[in-house]
Symmetry: D2
Subunit: 352 residues, 4 copies
């Protein structure tokens, strides 16, 4: 019911605007007794942090997280965990012309028409800055599901896909583009540089795999694990599509091609389903993909109107990512971990 | 929190198994004073009803809905509306061999491993029979949003897309395949007949458009209208992907191609966004697509195991749709209406 | 959020009006594998059933419960359990004069002013008939907490308290008044007969004890076990007060009198707290009391207005309980069981 | 579902421990466009602040609130409002002996047995310090319901009631004891001084009246306004009982005495019901009372055990209120305002 909370039992709420004094998350329902300090959270925030390469916005934020409650002598107590990240490099001045003009592709117009006013400084609450709070919450979720490994990466950028046969985990760890294919990464760097110089931007597709999920997490009908993952992923800024397993491609398969045959173990001979059957995890890796649109903030002029309804055009200055999907990787991972942690607890509740 | 409920303020819960005595939905939070009788609900159920053409399962269900509460003298009272649909044509015998064998692509294995037992008669709760209850609830949702027109249809079947220039609303209304393109419909009939004869099945993609949605419905962050629609659609049986507006295709666009320019009115010069910006409706039509996998119940033998873990193979007899997406059309429409009705009330609550 | 649902994980929704075709409850989140048939539910409904003695309404209802979903081969499946009870002895005619006149103490005026219309037949949804659905749901809750024994009884009727030293469990089981003190029961029969003859009614206080609750159920702050019990009890028709342990009397104790000293075991030397400390069960019996106002439907004329705002007076004919608290006993027990079952699952979820 | 959140549409979550760096609340679902700055909140916090008189704990906290999000140019934006209050005067040393010993009447034992560990510094999360966050959230709730005036006060302390004929609003505003009867206040001062000197403590009863509530707020069955108020009030530290209108006294009335007759207007000739009928506000003042037990922290030795289960006794040093109910007055008011603000929005949602 809360517009700013997510989850059922393992639950978090985020707050804060792009250019306010701080942003934060409060994680509620965390099991007690887990070792937790800021060093468990900071590395994930560092992965999302802006300014790490020339392929992300040049806004400089240390993104240092403080834990204000919910731990005692280094362990979680079961009480709400309040996480706070101060905003440092707000240059609201960059945005002053946005006070009156709606940026196409952004939430400017819809916030104004819904609420009758909006915090236009850097997009206010609609800024992807909010996602730092998710990443912080997601780091705690990971502690709740030590049996699960969650990893996301780009599989396509600007329409240029990776070669899945060239998937290289080491390349991925080293890649500022979160690309698991060295050759693709090199091509993408060229594309991104060109897009940036042209004042344009590119879209991309992020894939996320959760390994180690035991069978039985999730629930029927409206609590389906895949449905909740779709909610989680589509709530990320700039996400326009979510698919599980073969996703849209499965609509082009025949029944016998799509069936994941089972052998004793049980093992599955394929994973078209993406690790979820009837909304419940099957024990196979949970696999999904999220489509991100190109960054809406571009230097190319676009026709628009201002808040008086007058026609004008806009060039979005400021510091922006040429492809938001690159920094979305830790956010997708965080949302995956948050959904899985919640369903681990839900499963334990009902099925003991 | 309830695994069988959906929605926040305009909310419904469904119950019932494929081969139990009945299924039902209880709609809660409905505004009072709306004219409602079973004739407002029955036509939508008839659209979903099995056995209407040779392209759907031959199970015969009248699917007559009874309203057991929540109305008085033909009007809603604001109290919960209990809807009941009796099951009539259960042939559990057809399923008796399923008592022990897991059908690949179905929830058989995951239900068993999660709950330790399952109602195997016709898939029990995991059967798409549950969706009749959604369609009934959705019919009431439509009454809450008379300003909105919701229409879904197939845009691709078995990998064969419609020609969007041949979109013909009259053809759609007459089509047992829910196909808006006469030529495509003819091709699809051939494909479906062939698949059925081969004991196979086909996937498809359903598009849904909601026109008349005023700007301002939805909410930021975790209450985004598109995120809730993704949850709603991915909760439908056999759904494997959801996209809003240009969806996955937007990941291949450049920023300037993707921008929906605005002119006075306001009007938008395009609708790549699918009618939602920052999680809030923009006043443009809300557009989404859902990918459905091919029916998992096929006559082609598939390798599997039984509940003792022994290897075997299975041929799924019984009466099945060669393409579940055809009957998913009224379900997608219902879920769209249910999400929008809920957000209409949520918007009124916060913003007056 | 739903106005007609209760609980978090073990959750139920009720529906139905006093003079509609049926009432019902849907229980969601029930653990799988519990033995359940209608014989587990019926005895509790029989305890609440009207017409059992001259001290309750003469409306005749068999109150036979049907289980429409959620079980298979005699066991719960983890799916929603739909319970249906048909209404049989509706004499709406008795109520026809109520169509326009507001009964003081009833919900007639407030429903009308809120919703703009109301089902006036027997009070519609505001009738205590709804509580049959709670009792049915509560019977399932009892199966979730076999370690707990829940028992309620009257401790005061018409201002006349029981003698706690005369508490006799056998007397309680045999008492149509749910009175544990034979002498008090005899006095109460006299009072009730007199009140009925005078066209009046009496209030009473119900006490409920849950024994066997292990320490650790409940939660801090807004999920306090006592707070949720207060919600549960105050939601019962005609309830006007709830207290835990010593309740209002504790406001007259000094700190050292109120302290429940602890000894090894742990055991407590007293139970002023009513088995709950900081919102969490202590392992002592959970004890609460609920105050019920006298039945509002009386034969004594009361000044009122009609729905046009005109002044009139009303005599409430129909068949009514001279003291609603007598039949409230199984309802209080049901709500206690429902809250405890929910918190058992919640505790298991967070603390394993 | 969140153990630390309250409310449905107008909703808040609190976090923080007594001796952590800070405590806070996040208010979600607030309507946009309300004027809000810290000066709207601070006066209510000042009313609750410790150390204001010799009748409250001598812990010194400035309790200055900071608004970290959710406002722009002095107005609420509809986004979550993050409120932060730093802890300043933590003397955890005072509590070091509590690390191992359970204080009777406190949550020490139950937290330990539930979570397996606890933050014992000043009671951690179970401390009434959490209620400062509620008071801050409640100040915002008041802005949502400008039509309503909420006022609470003590009506009984240590078993000594006020004379209702001597109710003096001016005396109340001036009273450090929140007592509306000058004579009673003088007696209570004497009692409190005596209790403090004796190392004892006293209980009390707080009454709260909300005037100006329009008819129609609340909902049937499980969303009853009185039920939600009972939840709200019983969630306050040390609360042991809640009653609405005549409450427990109504159990001693006859039906004709209890009926609130209506005359044209409509007006009511009495308010035994406490402004709520069938769970919905009637337009009369909403009246409730909350019983608070005597402070559990006393200087009189009490038998107890330590966390190894060994028997010992305890004298609770530290700085404590001789009667917690005095400072509970602004908390009761805050919870009343929070429930009413939520139901105002809920009513608007369903009934327009």
């Amino acid at each position: 019911m809360s517009f700013n909370s997510f989850g059922h039992l393992f639950r978090f709420m985020t707050w804060g605007e792009s250019h306010g004094p701080a942003i934060g998350a409060v994680v509620d329902g965390c099991p007690p007794g887990l070792s937790l300090s800021s060093t468990d959270i900071q590395p994930w925030l560092d992965k999302r942090r802006p300014g790490a390469s020339r392929f992300t916005t040049q806004r400089r934020e240390a993104d240092l997280v403080q834990i204000l409650s919910g731990t005692f002598e280094g362990k979680t107590t079961g009480m709400p965990i309040s996480l706070l990240i101060e905003n440092q490099d707000q240059r609201s001045k960059d945005y002053s012309e946005l006070a009156k003009t709606y940026r196409p592709g952004h939430a400017d117009y819809t916030y104004d028409v819904k609420y009758g006013l909006r915090d236009w400084r850097g997009g206010g609450r609609s800024s992807a800055r909010e996602t730092a709070a998710r990443v912080a919450a997601g780091a705690i979720a990971r502690l709740v599901i030590p049996e699960v490994a969650v990893r996301a990466y780009l599989v396509e950028l600007g329409g240029d896909p990776v070669d899945r046969d060239a998937f290289d985990p080491e390349a991925l760890e080293a890649s500022p583009l979160n690309c698991p294919d060295r050759a693709a990464a090199a091509r993408w760097e060229t594309s991104l540089d060109a897009a940036r110089k042209a004042g344009s931007s590119l879209g991309a597709i992020v894939e996320c795999v959760a390994s180690g999920v035991p069978p039985g997490w999730g629930a029927p009908v409206y609590g389906k694990l895949d449905a909740e993952l779709a909610l989680a992923m589509m709530s990320i800024n700039a996400a326009k599509g979510v698919e599980i397993g073969d996703g849209f491609a499965s609509a082009r398969l025949r029944g016998e091609e799509n069936a994941d045959a089972m052998r004793a173990g049980p093992t599955f001979l394929s994973n078209h389903a993406g690790g979820i059957l009837g909304g419940i995890s099957s024990g196979q890796p949970v696999v999904l993909r999220v489509a991100f649109k190109p960054t809406s903030s571009i230097l190319t002029p676009v026709l628009t109107i201002d808040s008086d309804g007058k026609e004008t055009e806009i060039v979005t200055k400021g510091r922006h990512d040429p492809c938001v999907a690159i920094r979305a990787v830790p956010i997708v991972e965080a949302m995956m971990a948050l959904v899985l942690a919640d369903h681990k607890l839900l499963h334990r509740a009902q099925c003991g």
